[in-house]
Symmetry: C2
Amino acid sequence: MKDFEKKKVSIKDVAKAVGVSTTLVSLVINGKAKQYRIADEMAGRVMAKVKEMNYTPNLIARNLRGGKTQLIGLIVTDISNPFFSMISRVIENRANELNYTVIFGSSDEKYTNTQKLIDVLLNKGADGLIIVPCDGSEKIMERLHLNKTPTVLIDRCFKNLDISFSCLDNHRATVLATQHLIEQGFRKISLIAYQSQMSNVLDRISGYKDTMRKAGLEKQINVKQVSFSNTKSDVFGTVKRFIEKDKTEAILFSTNMLSIHGLTCLKEMNVKIPDDVAVVGFDESDVFDLYECPVSYIKQPVEQIAKTAVDILVDKIKNGESAKQSMAVLEPELIVKRSSLRNG
Amino acid sequence: MKDFEKKKVSIKDVAKAVGVSTTLVSLVINGKAKQYRIADEMAGRVMAKVKEMNYTPNLIARNLRGGKTQLIGLIVTDISNPFFSMISRVIENRANELNYTVIFGSSDEKYTNTQKLIDVLLNKGADGLIIVPCDGSEKIMERLHLNKTPTVLIDRCFKNLDISFSCLDNHRATVLATQHLIEQGFRKISLIAYQSQMSNVLDRISGYKDTMRKAGLEKQINVKQVSFSNTKSDVFGTVKRFIEKDKTEAILFSTNMLSIHGLTCLKEMNVKIPDDVAVVGFDESDVFDLYECPVSYIKQPVEQIAKTAVDILVDKIKNGESAKQSMAVLEPELIVKRSSLRNG
DNA sequence: ATATAATACTAAAACGTTTTAGCTTAAAAG
DNA sequence: CTTTTAAGCTAAAACGTTTTAGTATTATAT
């Protein structure tokens, strides 16, 4: 025990105080009094002492014995990204409600970091994991699944893997946005996305492409993908090209960071929105409301996504990984502001 | 052990494989071979097996025995606030470098939550705590200090308590901003801050007041404090009053959230910056660069503050709380954009 | 009366470590 | 040759739980 915890009351102390065995106390504490037919009067006396002595079980010991730590491991790509910090906050809240605490790490979109974090979090005793998987992490997730480690993917998933997730309907998200832009009369609509093979990116791209095709705008399809490492300069290059060379009429950004870098570039270029080019952003940002022209955006149900992930995970932790997998696909919402209106 | 961890190699397995006692293995692993005069050849054989069998110590067991968890507890007021999520990211990075993992919670500026979180985090085995303290938490921190729980306060501190912290020089921050506004020729400068008795708030207020007084602008001092619970509407009310009633020439926001709400209000009111009113914000935000008029702001050395906090904490964990306390006060930087220029 | 069953409880092992105290054996000292 | 010292190692306790396999004791059935 650390010196600053010396004072803690143990189950032994309670047992001694009541004059019974530690077994008895343990059983009562864990609500197994009936099951082990402990006399009601005895159970009452034990509980009273527990309250009186302010006993709380030592989770470390409990975990060592084979129980749980009530610790949820969370791996996001970057906790300082507002989208993920929002997710984290909701996960934290829901976890707390269910008596769990969150232990976290950021992978920076690198599967090697993801693996390291998984090892660390499990070694620290995490009862289960909520993971934002990244490119190259499929094998890792497969292994977790085989090991029956309670795991829920969030934000992105592997469709060919039978592993639970809680994600946005990403295809629907860009369908909504693209349809809206087409309805507004824009034809040359371009999409900017990350260079990634993950489901969220691919689905957002295909939602856009499918909608363009359906509207007979196949020839106008224009997708540019930028790197994670050089995002800002890649976005700048792409946006300039969209505007100056491709004569794009509307830009669809498929991520909060892409939106923000894009808007920064448009501002620097002194491009007028929506007169010179229309814009739809992704996720939420204070910037969208405060930009010179308020920006339309696709809103994810962050609360639901995060809460669902926790609920699925806790169910798995409690009822075993063997149970059927849960795939939660949640609805996006298109918030229309002036930036995407034809006559804004 | 959880079923998904069944495979793990224990010290016993290694001992058996080498044909020695667990004691021997433990000593070698913990670098005490020399001290306990284990034969070099033996130590070599053990280490070889450890590598071969890919053994890693079970941290839960190690902690139970009285060691450490390599877990740092972090309590911020709200992980989804960009300032704190940035802080958290840096803390995470530095902690990882030093072989620690972060376990966190948000207090929502409520000392009751803070106390609950402290209990939970310590019960989960945190080796030490990094805390953003809030109003009413002074007694709690005092108790931590008396118990010798390794603790570092961050962002705010209690000056009359001999407890380590890593904070901005808050007084200097508003001195810098106020001086700048005065130099630009503004006289009626108003400050908006949170309703709080915490050091960061008080120092920011006094930095402003001291500078106003020194410039002979005592009569122009105008401070409004808003609640944590109703921040947005309070800010809106205050800003309207500053503009319409007080004829304020420049507004100094003392926090990132206050800045953002304030700018939102100014935009809604269609107030022109800096022509109608000058503005200086606090902390960093994408909004500052993307607002119609780029906004000047006081920048905190987030990286330094966070890294320093971790370093102080880890030193405490390793060398005992008894060591002298470290008080880190870091320098703010004023970033000047158009919003605070007289002839913007 | 005796076997059986139910009630109310407990001893002890186990989880994976670290550490204290002590045990051999061999070398050095007397 | 004994005794002391040193070298090299180990047995066992301890950390705080949970759980398995009991043990008494009393009640019920035969």
